[in-house]
């Protein structure tokens, strides 16, 4: 009787992980399902766009009769209030959590749960968060209009600085200057089982955020460009009327600095991917489980593509099972017809905990491929360790004929805008895609 709630939490966790929502992620340690970490990726066309916001959920024994306790942990160590309803101390004011007086019918109910709370928090991250503050919903004086603009401007800056840049620097062991702390190479690195679970920090979103960073890198740069036009370096943030002494968002704009740090992170991530090759060679010599597994998967994929008579070819680069070079012929009767595309799949020695990183060598103007050649594809969660499913997912993303509008797949801002623009824009997009397809053949 005691642990009834565990049953429901476990179910909710697995449902959320299965439906692979691109803007939500949840995780907990196997031994403790009552303490859940959740990640919300800031919505498109808001100042929170593609920021990484993390929350701690604590489910008590009386869940779901009572709501869980929710704390925001992306607060710049308790110094930054990201939203009128998300305080610097981590408190999340939400009527369904009982942390805010709500209209009747907005309180907690047993039919609410992890996902509905996350969606409620995500809806706080809006285009104009100023009006979330009670009393400011319809504020429309000229001073309010200025405040609304100033508020959006500083949230965008801090979203980039704190939720993206600081987080990634921490993951990569970098300081703001861009230098990386040398990590002592350890024999145990390749053997995760020997680590004591409790003593190691629990960073479930590390690999996810790194991969999302590569997706959204161009959008971050676009946001920085916009910020540079609207603010001056050294200009102080405007204080909002509802911000208190220890519950506000203070600081100065410095987009030049942000851009430098952002570029350093991109460089460090690319170097990390490159390092996997050398680490992989070493793993191959030592015949680690991952190396043997990848080599076997490679042989199977080659065989199955051959059997299915697919016009793809796959080779190992330098006979390294951690780098696969894929050549793929564009599908006939589509915009990709007549193209010849090469991409590489880089595997980590920690695969599948660290998911592969794919990079197109062929330059292709496509709304699902970023400027540096990173494709935006989603592999099913239950097939994370299946290398073939990654390759198929990349090709599916490329060939998808009528994708649903989904700004979370916005990895190439220019192509995305044309693709989802008017009729003329779409024609222009198709033309540019076909031109790049044609060039791929000529270059080959």
């Amino acid at each position: 009787m005691a642990d009834q709630s565990v049953f429901r939490i476990t179910k909710e966790l697995s449902d959320l992980q299965k439906n692979s929502d691109l803007s939500l992620a949840v995780a907990c340690r196997d031994i403790d399902v009552r303490n859940v970490k959740a990640l919300i990726i800031g919505p498109h066309e808001t100042p929170y766009e593609f920021g990484f916001f993390e929350f701690d959920f604590k489910f008590n024994k009386d869940y779901p009769r009572k709501s869980p306790t929710v704390t925001c942990t992306t607060t710049n160590s308790g110094r930054t209030r990201f939203n009128p309803n998300i305080y610097a101390n981590g408190k999340v004011c939400l009527s369904i959590l009982g942390t805010w007086r709500g209209e009747p019918g907005e309180e907690w109910s047993a039919a609410q749960g992890l996902e509905s709370i996350l969606l409620s928090i995500q809806s706080l991250m809006s285009t104009n968060p100023y009006e979330n503050e009670p009393g400011f919903e319809d504020a429309n004086e000229s001073s309010d209009k200025k405040n609304q603009k100033d508020y959006v401007q500083k949230i965008r800056h801090e979203t980039l600085r704190i939720s993206v840049i600081q987080r990634l620097e921490e993951y990569l062991g970098m300081d703001a200057g861009g230098s990386i702390q040398p990590t002592v190479p350890s024999e145990y690195d390749l053997d995760m089982d020997t680590l004591d679970e409790d003593s190691s920090p629990f960073l479930p979103f590390k690999d996810l955020c790194k991969r999302r960073f590569l997706w959204y890198y161009d959008s971050y740069l676009t946001a920085i460009q916009k910020g540079k036009e609207e603010t001056k370096d050294g200009q102080s943030f405007a204080r909002m009327p509802f911000e208190g002494v220890s519950n506000s968002m203070e600081g100065k704009f410095n987009y030049t600095e942000l851009e430098r740090r952002l570029r350093n992170i991109k460089k460090a991530l690319d170097e990390e991917t490159d390092r996997w090759a050398a680490e992989g060679m070493e793993a191959k010599t030592k015949e680690t489980t991952v190396a043997v597994n990848l080599y076997r998967q490679f042989e199977q994929v080659v065989e199955s593509f051959k059997r299915a008579d697919l016009p793809h070819s796959i080779e190992l680069v330098d006979n390294n099972p951690f780098i696969w070079a894929v050549t793929y012929f564009g599908k006939p009767m589509t915009n990709l017809d007549g193209g010849l595309f090469k991409f590489r799949v880089h595997f980590s020695p920690r695969f599948p905990e660290e998911q592969p990183r794919v990079r197109f060598e062929t330059r292709l103007f496509h709304h699902r491929i970023s400027a540096d050649g990173t494709p935006c594809y989603v592999s099913a969660l239950n097939k994370r360790e299946d290398a073939k499913s990654h390759i198929e997912a990349v090709i599916d993303a490329l060939e998808e004929e009528q994708p649903p509008y989904d700004p979370r797949t916005l990895v190439n801002p220019e192509a995305f805008k044309l693709y989802w623009g008017g009729v003329d824009d779409r024609r222009n997009y198709n033309r540019r895609l076909r031109r790049s397809v044609q060039r791929s053949m000529e270059d080959f």
């Binding site: 009834q4 709630s5 179910k11 909710e12 779901p64 009769r65 109910s109 039919a111 749960g113």
Partner: protein, 101 residues
């Protein structure tokens, strides 16, 4: 060919006679299985239907409704939760249980 039946075992399945939603909104388990507190589905872990059309495991909705903060409302639609009268034995038990609660 003549066949002589010596012995036969009847097998039957049962399920709750409810309209559509097959998950309990509170524990999110199937109605045909039990609520998290029970081991065996059926008479030991029965369902309760509200007039609003929402169904729950009896144990789940009783746990919810006995709290003051629930204000007697259905967790799904927040209307006052009143159980629908039913003729079968199971809901009779539930009504008694609710009366005791």
């Amino acid at each position: 060919m003549k066949v002589k039946i010596k012995r036969w075992n009847a097998v039957a399945i049962w399920q709750w006679d409810i309209p559509e939603d097959d998950l309990c909104g509170i524990c999110q388990a199937h109605f045909d299985s039990t609520c998290p507190a029970c081991k065996y589905p059926g008479d030991d872990c029965i369902l309760l239907s509200g007039k609003c059309g929402h169904n729950f495991h009896m144990h789940c909705i009783l746990e919810w409704i006995k709290q003051d903060s629930a204000k007697g409302q259905c967790p799904m639609c927040r209307q006052n939760f009143e159980w629908a009268e039913q003729t079968n034995q199971a809901s009779g038990d539930a009504t008694q249980a609710l009366a005791r609660a």
